[in-house]
């Protein structure tokens, strides 16, 4: 039998971003049935997944988890972490697991069950699915996944739906560390496991995964409480400084999504076109009318990154109006000079690129205004097959540019103002999202195995 309502406390929009303890404790006073937090994002680019590093520091992650776990265990409610470590690969799940184990040990917490849900997809599975025509690029600009690019990809993860998380809950897990997950899924799973409507649970999850971002003023660094009922849900900020409005909650599904009311998840499409958003007068908003359809074929979204080059760069300023007037022309000449000086190096082994801030640094070819400012910030960038080669070419590029005698030059002592010495910065590896595909699977459980650990009392 369905409880009259089900409450989920979302402490922050990204595990490790922090949240006011007062807001969290106000949420705990309202007796939530679960604490759920999203830890994932592809926003910071491909290198987190490619290099296996985390988005937030261990210290920041531990600080957030400490309060979530101690309060969650005390209240006897599940604590669920989505997309552990940011990218949700095995290394990220293990990193999060070791932080959780440290907390349990330091606080003397025992008698609980941990579940770790893996989201790593073996290369051979992707290869076989490709051959079977069951793995397609997601988007117009995703490059075809050739055997070479697949092989060069360091790790592939897939976004899980609610199914494996519900299984872990059914197995009695108290703390669930999910690998890569569709952001709303951990929230949806915990509500669906108690029999609540999937569409409402997913829509609520979509809002709560960003915590208080849909309130006004919005932030990912404060808590939000979601209350599911039979045919609606309520979202409520937990700080007196914030309020939800009908428009702020409705507008939330715009954020970072390609479509404002059609949201594609694992095996499902959420349709929010007919939703009603009602202000309840106390800063909370009630939402109804969320709809969801299961897709005829269950598809999961894959993410994978590969190393493409090594980078060295220089930051410099240009204030000379004669040079600013012909900056792109001079850069092209400097590039040609370096290529001619390095004729023994195959031209495919490195690439030279300039970013001109004050001209079109941010928008590049999309920039409609092409009038340069009175000074420019110039980034000289070289990517190459090895760090050593990137360093060598960049060094030559910098000295050639510094002294280049372009036509009409008056400032014969130097063309660039370097803010730092040394000027050249060896950056390390550059990654690229090589896998961003939809792959057909039998069901939502197939690719997401679960490990359990019983922590002794």
């Amino acid at each position: 039998m369905l409880k009259e309502s089900f409450r989920i406390l979302a402490p922050c929009g990204m595990l490790g971003y922090g949240f006011p303890k007062a807001s969290f404790m106000k949420g705990m006073e309202l007796k939530p049935d679960a604490i759920v937090v999203d830890a994932g994002s592809t926003d910071a680019g491909p290198h987190k997944l490619g290099a296996g590093t985390a988005i937030v520091s261990r210290q920041a992650c531990k600080k957030d988890l400490e309060i979530m776990i101690t309060e969650g265990v005390k209240a006897g409610i599940p604590v669920i972490i989505g997309s552990a470590g940011g990218s949700g690969a095995r290394v990220h799940v293990e990193w999060t697991q070791s932080i959780v184990m440290d907390i349990l040990q330091e606080r003397g917490i025992g008698g609980i069950k941990l579940a770790m849900i893996r989201a790593d997809i073996p290369h051979e599975v992707v290869e076989a699915k490709q051959q079977a025509g069951q793995c397609e690029p997601l988007g117009l600009s995703v490059a075809p996944l050739t055997p070479e690019r697949l092989q060069a990809t360091s790790g592939i993860v897939a976004q899980m739906g609610h199914e494996p998380i519900m299984e872990a809950l059914a197995a009695g897990a108290d703390i669930i560390i999910c690998g890569r997950a569709y952001d709303p899924s951990p929230f949806a799973a915990v509500a669906m496991s108690r029999g609540y409507d999937a569409a409402l649970a997913y829509h609520l999850g979509k809002i709560l995964e960003c915590a208080a971002l849909s309130a006004e003023p919005g932030t990912t660094k404060d808590c939000m409480l979601g209350t599911l009922k039979n045919d609606s849900f309520i979202v409520q900020p937990l700080s007196d400084a914030r309020r939800c409005t009908a428009v702020s909650v409705a507008a939330h599904t715009f954020y970072e999504k390609e479509h404002p009311y059609l949201l594609h998840g694992p095996g499902l499409v959420l349709n929010l076109e007919e939703c009603q958003f009602t202000e309840l007068g106390d800063g909370s908003v009630e939402v109804s009318g969320s709809k969801m359809e299961l897709t005829p074929v269950y598809k999961i979204k894959l993410e994978g990154a590969m190393k493409v080059a090594y980078r060295t760069f220089v930051v410099a300023g240009v204030r000379d109006p004669l040079l600013i007037a012909r900056i792109e022309e001079v850069e092209e000449l400097v590039k040609q000079q370096v290529q001619s000086d390095y004729q023994e190096v195959p031209q495919d082994d490195y690439r030279i690129h300039f970013i001109n801030y004050g001209l079109n640094g941010v928008l590049g070819e999309l920039e409609p205004r092409r009038t340069p400012a009175h000074e420019l910030g110039v980034v000289l960038e070289v990517v190459a097959k090895t760090q050593e080669l990137a360093n060598a070419i960049c060094s030559s590029l910098r000295s050639t540019f510094l002294h280049y005698g372009y036509e009409g030059r008056k400032a014969t002592a130097g063309n660039l103002a370097f803010p730092f010495a040394p000027s050249d910065v060896p950056f390390g590896a550059v990654y690229e999202f090589s896998v961003y595909h939809l792959m057909e699977v039998t069901d939502g459980l197939e690719m997401f195995p679960i490990d359990y650990i019983e922590v002794k009392p």
Binding site: G45, L140, A251, P260, Y261, V383
Partner: protein
Amino acid sequence: MKLYDAATVLRSKNSGPFEITLDVLFSDPDIYYKLKQQELINKELVSRLYHIPEDRITHIVFYDQALGFKITFSRTVSSGTFLDRDVYGAQQHAPLMELEVEL
């Protein structure tokens, strides 16, 4: 007036590593519905503002409950790799901001 004078929120962001999405949200329903009815916001306009072919624009959608519309187009360079200029896609809204609108 410029679109940024009429809008309450005007922003850009990645929607995944291969797309940029632009959100324009209003607080005044009159302004929102007037703009929607004018049908000024279309692929031809976005193509012109951003110098991109129309087939790279994947969505232009109005959502009445949120008093806003969204434009999504594909990137030529994916987020965070060589030649990308905006990893989060958070500063790609400026060409749309300066659009002249009559209300």
